[in-house]
């Protein structure tokens, strides 16, 4: 923008002020308040007792919190495969000549993204249901009656089972994102690649992936952020159960504050979640960027 057209600093600020005020009111101030509360032993009334770093020391020892953290990481892993990875495959399929009715497929795959998480959870609760669930009756129909399970009561694979509905919901969104990224790849490059004999998997691996890297990075970061703050699906589907098996950090913080009346500790957990999430996003940005630059050399 030319200097003559640029409004003065204070005018810009004045324009931004309403937004900034709202933002600080609903985001910054609560975070700062949570940070302050995290130094107190507070059960939710007018009485608070300052205890310094005690809450944070307890977090370090809190097995349930770290288990929840691991579950978040696990969910992120499943998410990267089930959401970003599958979405990439879907996008490639939708770009290829093999698939008919592309518009229909796009709409159908995006549809779950428009549903509320609670509805998704309810749908999947019915699918997983032991007596009437689609999954179990499907297994019985295939003659695999021995595999019939009360799925949401399994402690082992519960995080995977909770991640599947999440992927089901978000895959459409990531597919759209990928399609947008892929369509920006120069058609001529692809044609040349085909002339050189690069088809199918080879074309995807050697041509499309390097060119679509920026999109893949953005999608991965979005997916990481989404899964690290995941709450609704787990809350509605299992409530973190059985026991703590599917607990996630946000759910645990919610339970500590609002079910156990430990607002101080809950605030400390919230701060820990922010810190850990930022740390993970920072680390993954670092990792992805470096690989991106290495790729750029070729």
């Amino acid at each position: 923008m030319g200097k003559a057209l640029r409004p003065k600093g204070w005018v810009l600020l004045a324009y931004l002020l309403p937004g900034l005020v709202l933002y600080s009111f609903v985001v910054l101030i609560p975070i700062l308040a949570a940070f302050r509360y995290s130094f107190f032993s507070w059960t939710g009334g007018p009485k608070k007792q300052f205890i310094g770093w005690e809450n944070y020391a307890e977090i370090m020892r809190d097995e349930v919190f770290w288990r929840s953290f691991l579950n978040n990481v696990l969910m992120t892993g499943y998410g990267l495969i089930g959401q970003v990875g599958l979405a990439f495959v879907f996008a490639l399929l939708l770009m290829s000549k093999l698939v008919k009715w592309k518009g229909l497929h796009r709409t159908m795959s995006y549809f779950p993204s428009t549903l509320a998480p609670v509805i998704i959870a309810f749908l999947w609760m019915l699918i997983y249901n032991y007596n009437y669930g689609m999954l179990n009756s499907g297994l019985k129909g295939l003659g695999l009656g021995s595999l019939v399970q009360s799925w949401l009561d399994l402690t082992g694979p519960i995080v995977l089972l909770v991640s599947i509905p999440l992927s089901w919901q978000n895959i459409g969104f990531f597919t759209l994102l990928m399609l947008a990224g892929l369509s920006s790849i120069n058609k001529e490059v692809l044609e040349v690649a085909e002339l050189d004999g690069a088809t199918g998997v080879r074309k995807a691996w050697y041509v499309i992936i390097p060119l679509a890297k920026p999109t893949l990075i953005v999608a991965s970061l979005l997916c990481i952020a989404n899964n690290m703050r995941g709450f609704e699906h787990v809350y509605a589907l299992t409530g973190g159960g059985p026991g703590n098996a599917s607990s996630v950090m946000a759910l645990y913080a919610y339970q500590s504050s609002f079910l156990r009346f430990r607002y101080g500790y809950g605030s400390a957990l919230a701060i820990a979640i922010i810190t850990l999430t930022m740390l993970i996003i920072w680390l993954s940005t670092l990792g992805l960027r470096r690989r991106n630059q290495e790729g750029g050399v070729y």
Binding site: L17, T43, T155, T238, G241, N244, F261
Partner: protein
């Protein structure tokens, strides 16, 4: 032009800030300006439940009668659903912004008393001895701290009763409900052969296990002294044998496969439906399920249904006829309300909502009021409801753990028991985790 944009920007931001803060103040000013007494009431009884739930019916009827008799008292009422109520009340309590009268579950009481959110009501109750003495023995206890009464109870009644299908038990050779755990396990095996679960069980919403199973079972094993010792910090431990044994019984039932397989992923409604569908021969639940059986069970099931309690535990110290019970939920008054006309009006309103007339109505509708209704028209009650009422009146009531233990301990048991029932945790592990939470609670009063 530039000046315009600045003024506009500032104006916009100013209105957004002012409108956010201004609303509340205006309302308060308007309320105080008039002579009329205004009572802000927030509770979890709902119009839509009238006729379905005895408590909602009786309490809201009392409120309507109060409104008719005292037209110059304005009541600003907010009716919320159970879970919504908990969330909203906790947020308001944390912000020190509770209404004048509100519902407090017994498990919150210690916290609310420590934080001076609730008003002691002894002086007011002493002015109305007839009303005060009408409550059943023990129902005021969970709302009392250090001799000060902070809550007016509404309903009482056990959180543990067994509703069982007598037909199914007689088919396998039990003319009565099994009287020992050995017999019960034997019945479980015989029912399992026929593809029927001994009990249906639904703990998805966490809390069911503690209120309908663990409280009553533990008391049978340890006796009430253990509970009192835990509550007073008198040295009893969750790792004590009796508590572990009680959890062990539940774990055994789950391991043997006598409960439904999806026990942690269905809620109490699904649990009762399994019973209605004939998938299970019994279920444990509170008195509130009596009306559900009366209203919703298929005729054949309703006819076969009888009501009892768990058998005693061999070598246990508790009364085998007891059931966890007493009042669980209270009306409390905001600590900010001062003695005077307003408090008078509030107490009268609470008398209307929970006292003699309301209690009679609640009993006639199939509930178990905290206020002893004396004689009431039992003819209106269905057989199952009457059986539940009589079992409740006969049972020696012991403490409901989720109302008495601190919320931090309750949460741990609620979570761990799911693991135990799923088979991924042992009763001993549950006991250790609970003890840890209990010690944390004792260390930080």
């Amino acid at each position: 032009m530039r000046k315009w944009s600045l003024t506009l920007g500032l104006l916009l931001s100013a209105t957004s800030v002012l409108s956010a803060c201004g609303g509340g103040e205006n309302e308060d000013a308007a309320a105080e300006g008039t002579d009329k007494i205004t009572i802000k009431l927030m509770h979890r009884y709902q119009e839509s439940n009238i006729g379905k739930s005895p408590e909602d019916t009786a309490v809201l009827d009392g409120l309507a009668r109060f409104r008719a008799d005292y037209p110059d008292v304005e009541i600003v009422e907010e009716q919320l659903q159970n879970e919504d109520y908990s969330i909203k009340a906790q947020a308001l309590a944390a912000a020190d912004d509770m209404p004048d009268v509100f519902i407090v579950p017994g498990s919150w009481m210690t916290n609310f008393v420590n934080n001076e959110i609730v008003l002691p009501l002894n002086a007011e109750l002493d002015k109305r001895p007839e009303w005060r003495d009408g409550y059943r023995a023990g129902t005021l206890d969970a709302g009392t701290r250090d001799g000060q009464v902070y809550g007016i109870p509404i309903a009482a009644g056990p959180t543990h009763l067994i509703y069982y299908n007598a037909q199914m038990f007689s088919d396998i050779g039990y003319s009565e409900f099994p009287a020992t755990w050995e017999e019960l396990m034997d019945a479980g095996a015989k029912l399992a052969e026929k593809g029927i679960n001994l009990f249906s069980y639904g703990d998805k919403s966490k809390g069911y296990a503690l209120s309908s199973w663990i409280s009553a079972l533990t008391d049978r094993a340890t006796g009430p002294e253990w509970t009192d010792s835990i509550l007073s910090g008198g040295g009893a431990k969750f790792t004590d044998e009796g508590f572990v044994k009680a959890i062990g019984i539940m774990s055994d039932l789950a391991k043997a496969g006598y409960l439904n397989k999806d026990l942690n992923s269905v809620d109490a409604d699904a649990m009762v439906n399994y019973y209605f569908e004939g998938r299970s021969a019994a279920f444990a639940s509170g008195i509130w399920s009596a009306m559900n059986v009366v209203n919703n069970a298929p005729e054949a099931i309703a006819e076969a249904t009888h009501v009892t309690v768990f058998p005693g535990i061999e070598g246990g110290l508790g009364n085998p006829l007891s059931s966890s019970g007493g009042a669980g939920v209270y009306y409390s008054v905001n600590a900010g309300v001062e003695a005077g006309d307003k408090l008078e009006a509030i107490m009268t309103m609470l008398d209307y909502m929970t006292g003699a007339d309301s209690a009679r109505l609640m009993a006639e509708a199939g509930g178990f009021p905290a206020y002893d209704p004396g004689e009431f028209d039992r003819g209106k009650l269905d057989r199952v409801a009457l059986e539940a009422y009589e079992a409740s009146a006969a049972a020696d009531s012991t403490k409901i753990f989720d109302l008495w233990f601190d919320a931090s301990v309750v949460e741990v048991i609620n979570t761990e028991i799911q693991g135990v029932m799923a088979g991924s945790r042992t009763p001993e592990q549950l006991a250790e985790e609970t003890q840890k939470a209990y010690e944390t609670f004792l260390a930080k009063p």
